[in-house]
């Protein structure tokens, strides 16, 4: 199977989407953020000049225009670059895009994709490190995809583009350098189907996006300590594959949620509540949540390390949930 960088997969899925459907137009030029990879999209832009728009710094206006274009026949993929900038467009995303289908009694749809790069990235500080997935999730009407590897990215975004709903496509700049296998004839991946990138029997770790990579890294180390971890990657937060989570917890009896949103009212809170409600009887230990601590993301490198869910924190939390002593 051919291997591909995550950043290459971003370009690949944009190319396939544009080539596959003339209604797909691209707005924004920072799908790959300000990373060294960002010039990779250039060829695609040059190939389809009349289907690519580079908007000025006017997120509220251009995301809103994307919503309107979607209502009226296009299937725009609109990039907000850094997740923090989506806040500039929240009025249109949360109030208009998310509500229109419902408010119109189903008459009007918003088939668009909104892209952002979330999370702690190294020196982004409080205003360039947000993970707004939980805020978005608290808004009915939006679909949220959180790929963690190149193949899932392509499959999920193909589905997002074909979807008749506003779909938030969540990337993380730290994923861009991840390499993974991508099948030649990759198919769209249906929403609401979690993947289990690692099977295990002692502990379920629920993680999405970049945190899947950290959880897998930690799981490898935990295996050598005799802790068998199963990693559940939901791939889409909305819709959520509750069954897959509950099945895994039924098997392992323990749950650790690792997520980059802030702790309070974060993705972890929702997953923990879901499991507590539906699988209380399966639990052998209290549920643990690891998240970005409830402070704005600090600039200073050591403080940034303390604030985010690191591999070391995952290891410590996993040991504590399973009752295994550190370094065993």
């Amino acid at each position: 199977m051919p291997r591909m960088l995550y950043a290459e997969a971003v370009v690949e899925v944009l190319r396939r989407s544009v080539e596959g459907d003339d209604r797909v137009h691209l707005m924004g030029q920072y799908f790959l953020g300000l990373t060294p990879h960002r010039t990779m999209v250039g060829d695609l832009y040059r190939q389809y000049p009349d289907r690519v728009y580079f908007p000025p710094i006017a997120e509220l206006g251009y995301v809103g225009a994307g919503i309107g274009a979607a209502i009226a026949g296009l299937r725009p993929i609109v990039d907000c670059a850094t997740a923090s900038f989506t806040f500039q467009a929240f009025a249109q995303i949360l109030n208009e895009a998310a509500n229109i289908h419902y408010m119109s009694g189903g008459q009007t749809s918003v088939p668009m994709v909104i892209h952002y790069n979330h999370g702690v990235r190294g020196g982004g500080a409080a205003q360039h490190s947000h993970s707004p997935q939980a805020m978005m999730w608290n808004t009915p009407g939006l679909e949220i995809v959180t790929p963690s590897n190149p193949a899932d990215l392509i499959g999920l975004v193909l589905t997002a583009v074909a979807s008749d709903n506003p779909t938030i496509w969540v990337d993380h700049v730290r994923l861009f350098d991840i390499e993974g296998e991508v099948p030649e004839n990759i198919e769209p991946i249906p929403f609401g189907r979690a993947s289990i990138p690692r099977e295990g029997t002692d502990l379920t770790i629920f993680a999405s996006s970049w945190m899947v990579r950290r959880s897998l890294e930690a799981s490898e180390l935990l295996a050598s300590e005799g802790i068998s971890v199963e990693v559940v990657d939901p791939r889409t937060l909305v819709p959520l594959d509750e069954e897959a989570i509950l099945r895994s917890v039924a098997k392992t009896g323990r749950l650790l949620v690792v997520d980059e949103c802030h702790l309070r009212c974060g993705v972890g809170a929702e997953i923990a509540a879901t499991v507590a409600e539906h699988a209380y009887g399966d639990l052998l230990a209290p549920i643990r949540r690891l998240a970005t601590l409830d402070v704005p993301v600090p600039f200073s490198p050591p403080l940034e390390q303390y604030v985010e869910p690191t591999t070391a924190k995952i290891l410590a939390a996993a040991r504590s949930v399973t009752g295994v002593q550190s370094g065993a």
């Binding site: 300000l34 060294p36 960002r38 010039t39 580079f54 000025p56 710094i57 006017a58 509220l60 206006g61 923090s84 900038f85 500039q88 190294g122 020196g123 982004g124 500080a125 409080a126 205003q127 360039h128 601590l293 409830d294 402070v295 704005p296 600090p298 600039f299 200073s300 490198p301 050591p302 403080l303 303390y306 604030v307």
Partner: protein, 319 residues
């Protein structure tokens, strides 16, 4: 008594421009050496706007900057040592390492805050002006922002509010012709950004922002107007950044060095002072300031990192 802003500029302003230049060149070097991380936007080539405007302000006047804030902070009186420490994430930085380059704050010298959100500082400057006005104080507020910021909705809302409420605010647009990597023409068909202010009846001027002898009197007039109850002003300063959008930019391409040098505000003001027969006063300025900045950087890098407990402080103000 209402003070009058100085409309003149002299060797002390050249010294301030050199201080900013030396600070940013040193920051660039430290970034390349991995001593500073994150996003670092330098304003090398734009020093005349910072010094021209801030040099005409009083210590209690309030400045609000954006993602390219070092020059504004230094010109308003912030110490280079504590700024370096902030850029390097040290505990001794102005914000204890929590802010970094884009979120500098030195309120003790009237540099209230910078923001990493383009145009996010504009309404804050308006609010500070509103507070001065409501409380009968004479302090003026200043917002620095780029040509890119002029494309935001927030910018247009703020022009309207500033004009409607006749706020003592000076809106300083540093128009360097680029927002990130694309030219102004890719963002708007409006060639003169000052035209926007005209629409709202705000007094405005488009000036050569790389000529300190032009920026200073224009800024002084706007500041005096604000302080004397004349309401807001808009200054469109045409300028030129001599560096890429951010340090480490892999696609950095700039024009011929010679063409750029003709625009260098430091060289231009130096020539002006020579022509004004003030050469003797300029001797040693650059060397002295570079040594001072070098020392400040060294001390900053020797300072301690924040500690784990510092992470949890300052989230909300304590009684």
């Amino acid at each position: 008594m209402v003070v009058t802003a100085p409309a003149q500029s002299g060797p002390e302003d050249l010294e301030m421009m050199w201080r900013i230049r030396a600070f940013e060149e040193k920051a660039s070097e430290l970034f390349a050496r991995g001593k500073i991380s994150g996003l670092l936007h330098l304003a090398i080539g734009q020093e005349a706007t910072a010094v021209g405007v801030c040099g005409a302000l009083q210590p209690t006047d309030r400045v609000f900057s954006g993602h390219r804030p070092h020059g504004h902070a230094i010109a308003k009186g912030a110490e280079t040592g504590r700024l370096f420490a902030e850029l390097a994430g040290r505990r001794t930085g102005y914000c204890g390492g929590k802010g970094g380059s884009m979120h500098l704050a030195a309120p003790e010298v009237g540099f209230v805050t910078a923001t990493g959100i383009v145009a996010g500082n504009l309404p804050l400057a308006l609010g500070a002006a509103l507070s001065s006005k409501c409380r009968g104080e004479s302090d003026v507020a200043v917002a620095f922002f780029g040509d890119g910021a002029a494309q935001t909705g927030l910018f247009h809302e703020c022009l309207n509010l500033a004009s409607l409420w006749q706020l003592p605010v000076v809106l300083v647009c540093e128009n360097n012709g680029f927002a990130e990597f694309s030219p102004l023409s890719a963002h708007t068909v409006v060639e003169r950004l000052a035209d926007h202010a005209d629409t709202y009846g705000i007094p405005t001027e488009t000036i050569d922002g790389n000529d300190l002898t032009v920026v200073r009197p224009a800024a002084a007039a706007a500041i005096d107007r604000a302080r004397n109850g004349g309401g807001p002003s808009f200054l469109e300063c045409l300028t030129h950044r001599l560096r890429g959008h951010y340090e480490g930019d892999p696609t950095l391409k700039r024009g011929a060095a010679a063409r750029d040098e003709a625009k260098d505000p430091i060289q231009r003001f130096t020539r002006f002072l020579h022509d004004a027969a003030r050469s003797a006063e300029l001797e040693g300025i650059e060397v002295r300031v570079r040594a001072e900045v070098e020392q400040a950087a060294e001390e900053a890098l020797a300072a301690p990192w924040p500690e784990r407990d510092d992470l949890l402080t300052n989230v909300v103000a304590q009684p």
